[in-house]
């Protein structure tokens, strides 16, 4: 059983600005739970002009109380309150020629309980045919871009030229809970039957059926909780991107980096960056 959530929207910023903001989106006032971001692999292919990036984010997270109640204490182990840090692996490909960026993020821990895969696909809107006549690499970059380089040393600026970027977001949730235990049990019984008496092979099948029904119901319940959490956190992810894009429009790359530094200092000092919302953004996963 898999749960799926998807949404679409249009950013009122150019495609290059949005891709840059994606790389620069942590930390922001809506993502103060992101503790670190590291690039673990990066590859540029000059032939296709595609850039592939793999990053590792460390986030402070908490299993929802509703999930905690469903899990046996033995599974939770030391983190009985479900409070932990969790690693998120993010992969992205940017094709600047074709004007798209495809991204995918997944959790690395607790995947047995709930695996969450988030995808975002950013697309430069299609250009009308007559505009293509003027297409040269430089021209295309100018037309679709914000690529004005200020002479005042502030670096990159975002031009407010009416460009937009379409984004499709989706979250896929899949609980594998119980499956690992089942596999372990099967492995154990296989090992036992190899050495022990043949009588043990004839376990009543009824128990297995009940057990597997219980597992499926548990998985559905956990996926449902995960889905409502993902739906709550999506607006914060979008607001975070918009803060970064707005900083870029106001103060260029330098403006983004300055904002980031301020956010980081505030996080370290334990100050809240936002007026409290109905549900604190720190509770979200994204």
């Amino acid at each position: 059983m898999v749960k799926f959530y998807s949404s679409q929207e249009t950013y009122s910023y150019s495609f290059p600005a949005v891709t840059l903001a994606y790389f620069l989106r942590y930390p922001n006032p809506y993502a103060t739970h992101v503790l670190s971001t590291d690039t673990i692999a990066r590859a540029y292919d000059p032939a296709t002009q595609r850039l592939t990036t793999v990053r590792l984010h460390l986030k402070r997270s908490k299993l929802p109380a509703a999930v905690l109640r469903l899990l046996p204490k033995s599974l939770l182990g030391a983190s009985a309150t479900g409070e932990s840090q969790t690693y998120i692996l993010e992969k992205s490909v940017v094709d600047v020629n074709e004007g798209w960026m495809d991204t995918e993020s997944r959790n690395l821990e607790w995947t047995g309980v709930l695996s969450v895969v988030e995808r975002q696909y950013f697309k430069r809107p299609d250009v009308p045919d007559e505009a293509k006549l003027f297409k040269g690499i430089e021209g295309a970059a100018r037309r679709h871009g914000f690529l004005a380089f200020a002479k005042d040393g502030r670096g990159l600026r975002v031009e407010d030229n009416g460009d937009t970027t379409e984004v499709t977001s989706s979250v896929t949730l899949h609980s594998h809970i119980g499956e690992t235990w089942k596999r372990k049990r099967e492995a154990a019984s296989e090992a036992a039957s190899a050495s022990a008496s043949p009588a043990e092979d004839d376990a009543p099948p009824k128990m297995g059926f009940l057990r597997s029904w219980g597992t499926a119901a548990l998985q559905r319940q956990i996926e449902k909780i995960g889905l409502s959490r993902a739906q709550r956190s999506q607006p914060n992810a979008k607001e975070g991107m918009k803060v970064v894009l707005e900083r870029m429009r106001e103060g260029g790359l330098v403006g983004v980096l300055e904002g980031m530094r301020a956010d980081r200092e505030a996080i370290l000092a334990g100050r809240s960056l936002l007026a409290p919302l109905a549900k604190g953004p720190n509770d979200s996963d994204e």
């Binding site: 290059p16 790389f23 620069l24 930390p27 971001t37 590291d38 821990e109 980081r264």
Partner: protein
């Protein structure tokens, strides 16, 4: 800039990130890039980071995920789908 999970790598990370952002915004996005100019800085950063990842056991976790993904990809690319 965002922090590294390994504080000892923050310095090399920042050098690399700065190089990358400049290259990305001035060359990659303009379609004028011929190579990844920041490779030497990435190598220094990676050297520091990979030590930190293995000390924390994260490298094993990453290897498992990549193996799982490979199996999933193989499953999806089966003929007849």
């Amino acid at each position: 800039m965002s922090a590294s999970l390994a504080p000892e790598c923050n310095e090399v990370k920042e050098k690399y990130d700065n190089c990358f952002l400049k290259w990305y915004s001035e060359k990659f996005l303009r379609g004028t890039s011929t190579n990844d100019e920041c490779k030497p800085m990435f190598d220094a950063y990676e050297k520091c980071l990979s030590k930190a990842l293995s000390e924390r056991g994260i490298d094993k976790m990453l290897a498992e995920v990549r193996q799982d993904n490979k199996e999933n990809d193989a499953e999806h690319m089966k003929p007849g789908r």
